[in-house]
């Protein structure tokens, strides 16, 4: 057994910090999943592909010569419209459909987006730039500058989302629509559009995750499938209906991934996500902070 028990302190610190940095990506994906789940009780299996496609758009913009952050923000706009469009054009028609139909629709979206990315951008692995230069002052042997950057971006995104939901009228309306659609209609909130906005925001947040991740795992159409798995694990650990839980679940999963990787070997990391998912679902389905799910007899 493992090297991991004999790991020197500095190495352990690096694994933990790096895990927290990766956790930022997982937290973003988890937050996107939770946002959609809270409002619709659907799990968006296509979340990863949406993020991947947005990242390709970002690369397109960067290759056109735009500076990184300009491309970044334009991509966020794209991702928002993309998510909103998917809800209004496809998903809304299946809101009352049986579970299998909804799952089939989401898988269908996954396939379409994945296939479109492959057809349009081809399957070669592409490097994706990082806006955080590798020799920046905030880099260190414990955390690369990109990892510091990832955590910062994640925190900014989480903060922005928090402020939006807590302090803006639209954010309040969206929260209301997710919790109590009937009463929301009685105060004049257009619940359908709130759902669409939720999808747009989820797409936007996913795109952030995609762009941060692409520098690490390289851009190719299947890059997000593993990350999506970690996003599921993070969302479940935090409680699938709790956005705060997602924010915390991310780093937890990230650190777990790295430590398990050090112990069992990096090639089984996905199995760690799998075991986490099954473990949480069978032992404590409501996660750390979620409301208890009613499991049918």
């Amino acid at each position: 057994m493992p090297a991991c028990f004999a790991m020197p302190g500095t190495e352990l610190l690096h694994q933990v910090l790096s895990g927290i940095a990766n956790g930022g990506i997982y937290a973003s994906v988890a937050l996107a999943l939770v946002m959609i789940y809270q409002a619709t009780h659907h799990v968006n299996f296509a979340q990863g592909e949406m993020a991947m496609f947005s990242t390709y758009i970002a690369l397109l913009l960067i290759n056109l010569g735009l500076p990184y952050w300009v491309a970044f923000f334009l991509t966020l706009v794209f991702a928002f419209v993309f998510g909103l469009g998917i809800e209004r054009l496809v998903v809304r028609w299946f809101n009352a459909s049986p579970v299998l139909s909804v799952v089939a629709v989401f898988i269908g979206l996954l396939l379409i987006i994945n296939g479109a990315a492959g057809a349009e951008f081809d399957y070669t692995i592409k490097p994706f730039p990082s806006p955080f230069p590798s020799n920046a002052w905030y880099g260190s042997p414990f955390m690369s500058s990109h990892e510091v950057g990832m955590i910062s971006v994640t925190l900014i995104v989480l903060a922005a989302v928090f402020v939006f939901f807590r302090f803006t009228p639209l954010g309040l309306a969206m929260r209301a629509a997710a919790q109590n659609p009937a009463s929301s209609r009685l105060v004049g909130v257009r619940v359908g559009w709130m759902l669409a906005l939720g999808w747009g925001l989820a797409g936007l947040i996913g795109a952030v995750a995609g762009m941060m991740a692409a520098h690490v795992v390289y851009l190719e159409p299947n890059m997000m499938s593993g990350i999506l798995l970690y996003g599921f694990a993070a969302a479940l650990i935090g409680g699938i209906d709790n956005p705060w839980g997602a924010a915390l679940g991310g780093p937890i999963v990230g650190v777990l991934e790295n430590l398990a990787g050090a112990c069992i070997g990096t090639e089984l990391k996905l199995s760690v996500a799998l075991v986490t998912i099954i473990g949480v679902l069978t032992v404590r389905p409501s996660g750390l902070f979620g409301r208890t799910l009613v499991t049918r007899v």
Binding site: V90, F94, V105, N114, S225, L228, L270, R296
Partner: protein, 362 residues
């Protein structure tokens, strides 16, 4: 119209002079005759495609029993397919003395065992969450297969190569022809098992568990036992299919059992008709034929030499993934019963016509 004097016809409804039962038997006879003759009327390539359809039919039957009849959504049946395939590959290459035909039932048993074990934690997961967990399994499967610790057995990233079996007893058949009969025989076994299971008490219990689990439990149906049993049977059939597939492709490798394989199985049962037994054949046909059509389509599009933008859109639309995805969504939206639903509707129409007596009162 029947009056008090003319007795109502006591025989079963007729269609073109024969009962439904007779028609059914006739169809089966036709099927066997066709199967006997097919290998001699098709090219090897076409024949092997048909064989693949048969193999996928068995896999889809397995998945449909679980998802269609018992209501447990699995997005991870590729894992059982892999277990079947690797069992056969390993037994044929790493273990001596086991003939190829014996590896198939062994693969089935091992798959069934794993399926039964998976069925236990699955008991606690409802619909969406089971889909999520099995999706995770599908994504993790290739990595698990590549794990270094069992490299010696699985052949690691390169996988294992095997040979298609030759015809026994010196029969004058080439390997593809023999494999066709071999797979057809297993399909008959699989469908007989499936049919009996679903028509009998077990089948009704399975459906009861799917539709009204609480009511079923109060009527004494041991829901847990039926759900795990169904998982086991489902895994067994898909494992058998995986074993046959290994013989068909003549190799197994981790990346051929990725998440898209499991997704194709889902597509197969949705298009074929969730809960429809004859539908699985159509579903299998669909998932085999679409990649072929897709490449034909994209070749044809290239020849059209359309303006860049239009051409790009069409190339996009002719990607097999995109076609599968659109088919899924369109099928769920417009044709929720899939192909099997169409068949059932046709049968009902025919039955209604057949049941109305056409004899005028005397």
């Amino acid at each position: 119209m029947a009056t008090l004097d003319t007795p109502r016809p006591a025989a079963a409804p007729l269609f073109a002079g024969l009962t439904f039962r007779t028609w059914g038997l006739l169809a089966l006879v036709l099927l066997f005759v066709a199967a006997a003759v097919l290998p001699f009327s098709l090219t090897n390539f076409r024949l092997s495609q048909v064989t693949l359809v048969i193999i996928y039919s068995i896999a889809l039957l397995g998945l449909n029993i679980l998802t269609g009849f018992n209501g447990q959504i699995s997005l991870g049946h590729g894992a059982f397919f892999a277990i079947g395939g690797y069992t056969t590959a390993i037994l044929l290459t790493k273990v001596t003395g086991i003939p190829y035909w014996a590896t198939v039932p062994i693969a089935g048993v091992i798959s069934a065992g794993v399926g039964f074990l998976v069925g236990w934690p699955a008991l606690r997961l409802e619909g969406l969450y089971l889909a999520l967990a099995t999706f995770a399994l599908a994504v993790a499967t290739p990595q698990i297969l590549k794990y270094k610790a069992w490299d010696d057995w699985t052949g690691g990233v390169q996988g294992i190569n095997l040979d298609k079996p030759g015809a026994p007893f010196g029969l004058p058949l080439n390997r593809d022809q023999w494999l066709f009969y071999f797979c057809f025989a297993w399909a008959v076994v699989a469908f007989v098992i499936g049919w009996n299971l679903l028509r009998g008490r077990t089948g009704r219990a399975m459906v009861a568990v799917r539709d009204h689990p609480i009511a079923a439990a109060t009527m004494g149906v041991n829901t847990a036992r039926y759900k795990t049993l169904t998982f086991g049977v489902s895994a067994m059939l898909t494992g058998v299919a995986g074993s046959l597939a290994a013989l068909w492709t003549e190799f197994v490798s981790p990346d051929s059992f990725d998440v898209f394989l499991s997704i194709r199985f889902l597509i197969g049962i949705v298009i074929g008709g969730v809960g429809s037994i004859p539908g699985v054949v159509f579903g299998a046909f669909f998932i085999v034929i679409v990649p072929n059509w897709a490449s034909d389509l994209s070749n044809w599009v290239q020849t059209l030499a359309l303006p860049g933008f239009l051409s790009r859109i069409l190339v996009l639309l002719s990607s097999p993934q995109v076609l599968f995805g659109m088919a899924l969504i369109i099928c769920v939206a417009l044709l929720p019963g899939g192909f099997g639903g169409i068949i059932r509707w046709l049968l009902r129409v025919i039955e209604r016509d057949a049941a109305t007596p056409t004899r005028p009162p005397s």
